[in-house]
């Protein structure tokens, strides 16, 4: 027999993150979910292209190199852990 407690526990919890999404859709997109998704997908795509383009510039190898602090952090954790 199914446990009553499980049913209580399964009751939908209000996700604060989704509540924020709803607020933005209603406040900024007049409740149009599709417009919201399309606009942010477009923005994400533009950002992604910009990142790809900047990765091909002269500065890219430097950005990919871990910072000195990170390297020192790794060395010291290897020594003292």
């Amino acid at each position: 027999m199914l446990d009553k407690r499980l049913e209580q526990e399964q009751a939908p919890r209000v996700d604060e993150r989704l509540a924020r999404v709803v607020r933005i859709i209603v406040e900024q997109y007049d409740g149009d979910v599709k417009a919201f998704v399309d606009s942010i997908r477009y923005r994400t795509e533009v950002n992604r292209k910009a990142e790809v383009a900047s990765d091909h510039s002269d500065q890219a190898p430097l950005r990919k190199c871990p910072s000195t602090t990170k390297i020192i952090g790794r060395i010291s954790s290897a020594h003292y852990s």
Binding site: L2, L6, Q10, R17, A19, V22, I24, K34, V37, T44
Partner: protein, 375 residues
């Protein structure tokens, strides 16, 4: 920089595989690993599913073991992923994940509770088994409805023209569901049309009971002990009026019908608190443009009251529809493609499909926020 929210991603490092039949032995085999993962961290656990089903009670046991609070009261989030087949109890388990993912090659199959027998059955035994199976179906359907409701809200608000009609009033539900059927094969579209018919009769029962009880004085203050027998009277009255042309007797099928109505209303009433919480979050998505403009001008407290009077009725009929849909899913055989499972609210995301998901929307918001925070 894209934001990766671990609450919405499968994670192989913290995963379990439920393959083959769901049996007590399978649960015994998974238990130590579940405990190990729970002890290691509070991060979500991913459950990969490829199973023809098995025992619902064992499936529930596995789910509860993953999600149960530890000694500090911390719970764990469950991400379910169907990688092959999720049938019967495995399909329920998939849908009950806090975030459910379907891979494009997956098969999702639903059917009602079944019980195998090795010995001969008596009439009494068969009657009791039938009653138990019916009760199991009802409970599973309600649980499924609770987890699917949020997902279905996100699906219907994508149906552009039909959602506009529904925002005008709850009578637009039929058109909304008709628009939803376009996402299904003809065989499965039948499920949605049957659910609409069921939703209507469910609402009729509720209205008939409400009208009957309204005639009683101070019924809202009555204790449950007094209210329940009166509700039974209301339902007997409703059913006998409905069957006035038939040879309808309580001693034949009547009592069963009344009991079924009673359970339905009782279960529905127990959900109203959840519905209020959903209304607060999603209600504003069901306002017309004019209502939305008015809503935006109100304070936080006023907004709650406004949603009660302008969106509650729409959310309520949608809830009735989802309950009806899930009850049907538990009674007949339905084979769903991953996309159909998505549109039915069984899963949150279909990998590689481009269908909008909670994860995508949340990560979009988080990445926008983190970009604006940067100097």
């Amino acid at each position: 920089m894209p934001v990766h929210d671990k609450d919405y991603w499968e994670n192989f490092e913290r995963s379990l595989f439920l393959t083959g039949k769901i049996t007590q032995e399978a649960a015994y085999a998974l238990s130590p690993r579940i405990k190990e993962l729970r002890a290691a961290s509070g991060d979500p656990i991913t459950l990969y599913i490829d199973s023809p089903g098995g025992s619902s009670a064992v499936a529930e046991g596995i789910r509860f073991l993953i999600k149960a609070p530890d000694q500090d009261g911390r719970k764990c989030r469950l991400i379910t992923v169907v990688i092959g087949t999720a049938a019967s109890a495995a399909a329920d388990l998939l849908a009950l994940g806090d975030y459910a993912i379907a891979e494009p090659q997956a098969d999702i199959l639903y059917h009602g509770s079944r019980q195998a027998f090795e010995q001969l059955l008596t009439f009494e035994g068969a009657t009791s088994v039938a009653a138990n199976l019916q009760e199991a179906n009802e409970r599973l359907a309600l649980r499924l409805a609770r987890s699917s409701f949020r997902r279905i809200i996100w699906r219907v608000v994508q149906l552009k023209d039909a959602i506009e009609k529904f925002r005008d009033g709850p009578e637009g539900l039929e058109e909304l569901v008709e628009a939803l059927t376009a996402k299904f094969t003809p065989g499965n579209a039948r499920l949605l049309r049957e659910a609409i018919a069921k939703q209507k009769s469910l609402q009729e029962v509720q209205t008939a009971a409400d009208n009957y009880l309204k005639k009683r004085k101070n019924v809202a203050q009555w204790p449950t002990k007094q209210l329940e027998p009166e509700l039974v009277r209301a339902l007997v009255d409703y059913r006998s009026r409905l069957h006035k042309e038939d040879d309808w007797l309580l001693s034949r099928t009547g009592m069963r019908e009344v009991a079924s109505d009673f359970n339905l209303i009782h279960d529905y009433a127990s959900q109203t608190k959840d519905l209020d919480a959903q209304l607060e979050v999603y209600g504003s998505l069901f306002l017309t443009q004019a209502q939305s403009a008015e809503f935006k001008s109100k304070s936080e407290e006023e907004r709650k009251v406004y949603l009660k009077s302008h969106a509650a009725d729409k959310l309520e009929v949608l809830w009735y529809f989802v309950v009806s849909l899930c009850r049907l899913l538990q009674t007949k055989d339905y084979q769903l493609t991953p996309e159909e499972a998505y549109w039915l609210g069984v899963v949150d995301e279909v990998t590689g499909s481009g269908l909008q998901s909670d994860r995508e929307m949340i990560e979009m918001i988080l990445s926008t926020e983190s970009a604006t925070r940067k100097p």
